[in-house]
Amino acid sequence: MIPDMILFILLAIVAVTSALGMLLSRSAVYSALNLVLNFGTVAVLYLLLGAPFIALAQITVYAGAIMVLFLFVIMLLGVEQLRKGSALPWQQTLAIISGLLLLALTAYVIFIRPMTLPQVSPTQLGFGTPGAIGEILFNKYLLPFEVTSVLLLVAMIGAIVLTGKREPKTKT
């Protein structure tokens, strides 16, 4: 338990710091890189909780593919630097108030009324492993899985149709 606890505290510190760094940094690229760090630490937290599939998906999909996309967009659009001052002046106060409210609510449920939380049943052995997910994906949910791939194909065709090159129009 103790090594787990130490690991958790270390990871939590890194995760929170990187999340803060992402929010507070004025450079979009730094923000994006902080987000990568955050994704990575959260992935390790998932591993600690016994959810290897989500951990791997977090790394490959979020820290990998989506972050590359983010960086591409940031660099292509050339908006690396944020302007000084915030665009919505009331936003900060509102954010602090609602953040504190959320924190108070969570604290209330966890420390004052822990009994109202539903009992979590212990997970079975092998729950959430890539093998178990593959098993269910290719048996019970085979058709939705396949339809999803058709859906992606259609979305791709659509993107190409709407953005592809057109010949000069014949008539209007």
Binding site: F138, N139, K140, Y141, L142, L143, P144, V147, T148, V150, L151, L153, V154, A155, I157, G158, I160, V161, L162, R166, K169, T170, K171, T172
Partner: protein
């Protein structure tokens, strides 16, 4: 699932399998078809639809489930599939010449149309909320793209963007509802939802909120008030051939999902949901019909008319929870969707025949009511088709629209909602004003309407108009077929 199981299951949904594969193949074949001969792609797409139609009809008696209960193949799915495939065929027929003359012809148009129909057929057969969601997306995404296929024309872009944003929003509602239903019952399969509900121990408030959110999500798709805001702009901005297909296909698919989900999974919630459905139906009929009166643009008018008709069909859904009326609910809704499909295509084919591009020496686009002046003398056949469509929309015999409305009202009265039936009747009377106005313009005003002589448009307009009249004479067996479709559902 072993390979053998997979093949067995794919065989069970053969029409859908074939259509999907055909759409993929067509995408490749289209690359080798030269630019001036995209008609071949249209023809091949229609061929695929015909094959699927033949398969659907040849398996009409089958009632089974496939893919571990994700799909239900039954009379209901068969009936709806026939509607979807016919609207696909009509959608291609009205599109072919229109696309050429508008300068937006591309092979992908037909491929996307096929994929959309695959989504609709899956929607009618889906027996699991996850499948319903995926089918909803599969039918919608091609429609978003098709609505914007005339880019860089601004109104087409606007239509695509509006439809996409509101559609994505609606999908969010649907998913949130699904999540709540899953949270309450522990399952997304329709049959398990109802068994979990009746066996008790279910958080009913979660379930009702979930069902309500699902209703909102699908309500956007079928355009019932107050989720109709996008309809006039999208119907007007999208290329007319897309609008014609969208007005029928998307609406029918949305109602297929509503009927299947409500009648199968939510009868125990009827106490809570019936008043909501009542209000939706009433407001949709009133607002749709009243705003349509003010429209001078024929596409906008038909858009509001389609909203009003969503209200009529919604009316049949109100008594869905009463065991003995539920069969009539589904049967009359199916029948009305068939009537609506034929009527709608007759009207839209005429609209497309009269539409022309601005410029070219004319200062109108052929879409305002004035452009229909004199059509009765110049093009008696088209004017007759339009007249039949308008009469059918109002519900005047001898048209399919009349028979359809009769069955709808009968269902509502059987269910014990005479007030709603009265609203339906009165709003139909109101609608006569703006539908007959088109007829008045066509026959009693002089004018020089500009009409295209395009064989497929003529054929669609006349064939559907004749169908509206002739089928109304044989409506009894047709309604019995719809009723049988239902027996297996319940």
């Amino acid at each position: 699932m072993s390979l053998n199981d997979l093949l067995v299951n794919l065989n069970l949904i053969m029409p859908i399998t074939i259509l999907t594969a055909w759409a993929c193949v067509l995408l490749l074949v289209d690359l080798f078809i030269p630019k001036e001969r995209k008609g071949i792609t249209a023809l091949l797409a229609a061929l695929g639809l015909l094959v699927a139609l033949a398969l659907v009809i040849s398996r009409a008696g089958v009632a089974t489930s496939a893919f571990n209960g994700m799909i239900m193949i039954d009379g209901f799915a068969t009936f709806m599939s026939v509607i979807f495939l016919f609207s696909g065929l009509a959608g291609i027929a009205v599109a072919y010449d229109y696309l050429i003359r508008s300068g937006i012809e591309r092979g992908e148009y037909y491929v996307l149309l096929l994929f959309s129909i695959v989504g609709m057929m899956l929607m009618a057969a889906a027996a699991d909320l996850i499948m319903v969601f995926l089918a909803l997306e599969l039918l919608s995404i091609p429609l978003y793209v098709l609505a914007g296929i005339a880019v860089p024309r601004p109104d087409s872009e606007e239509a695509a963007l509006k439809y996409f944003l509101l559609g994505a929003f609606a999908s969010g509602f649907f998913l949130y509802g699904t999540a709540l239903v899953y949270g309450a019952t522990g399952s997304t399969a329709l049959t398990e939802i109802v068994s979990a509900t009746t066996s008790g121990g279910v958080n009913l408030s979660f379930l009702v909120i979930g069902a309500g959110l699902i209703l909102v999500g699908l309500g956007f798709k079928v355009a019932v008030v107050p989720f109709h805001m996008w309809t006039p702009d999208v119907y007007q901005g999208a290329p007319s051939s897309v609008t014609a297909f969208m007005a029928v296909g998307a609406k029918a698919a949305g109602f297929a999902a509503l009927l299947r989900i409500f009648v199968l999974a939510f009868p125990p919630l009827a106490m809570d949901l019936t008043p909501v459905l009542w209000a939706l139906a009433a407001f949709t009929m009133i607002i749709g019909n009243v705003i349509a009166i003010a429209q001078r643009n024929i596409k906008r008018m038909l858009a509001y008319s389609s909203i009003a008709h969503a209200g009529y069909i919604m009316m049949a859904l109100v008594p869905y929870g009463q065991g003995n009326v539920a069969a009539d609910t589904v049967a009359s809704a199916l029948f009305y969707l068939l009537a609506y499909m034929l009527t709608s295509f007759a009207a839209w084919a005429v609209v497309i025949a009269l539409e022309h591009n601005m410029g070219e020496g004319r200062d109108t686009d052929g879409l305002s009511l004035e452009d229909y002046s004199g059509l009765g003398q110049k093009q008696p056949a088209l004017a007759a088709a339009m007249t039949v469509a308008m009469l059918s929309f109002i519900g005047i015999p001898p048209t399919l629209g009349f028979v359809g409305k009769f069955y709808l009202l009968r269902t509502v009265i059987e269910g014990g909602f005479p007030g709603l039936a009265l609203i339906g009747l009165l709003t139909s009377l109101v609608s006569a004003y703006y539908y007959l106005r088109v007829v008045v313009y066509m026959y009693m005003r002089d004018g020089e309407p500009v009409v295209r002589r395009e064989p497929w448009l003529y054929f669609t307009a006349l064939a559907t108009a004749v169908g509206v009249v002739v089928l109304s004479i044989f409506s009894e067996p047709l309604f019995n077929w719809a009723s049988q479709a239902v027996l297996k559902l319940i």
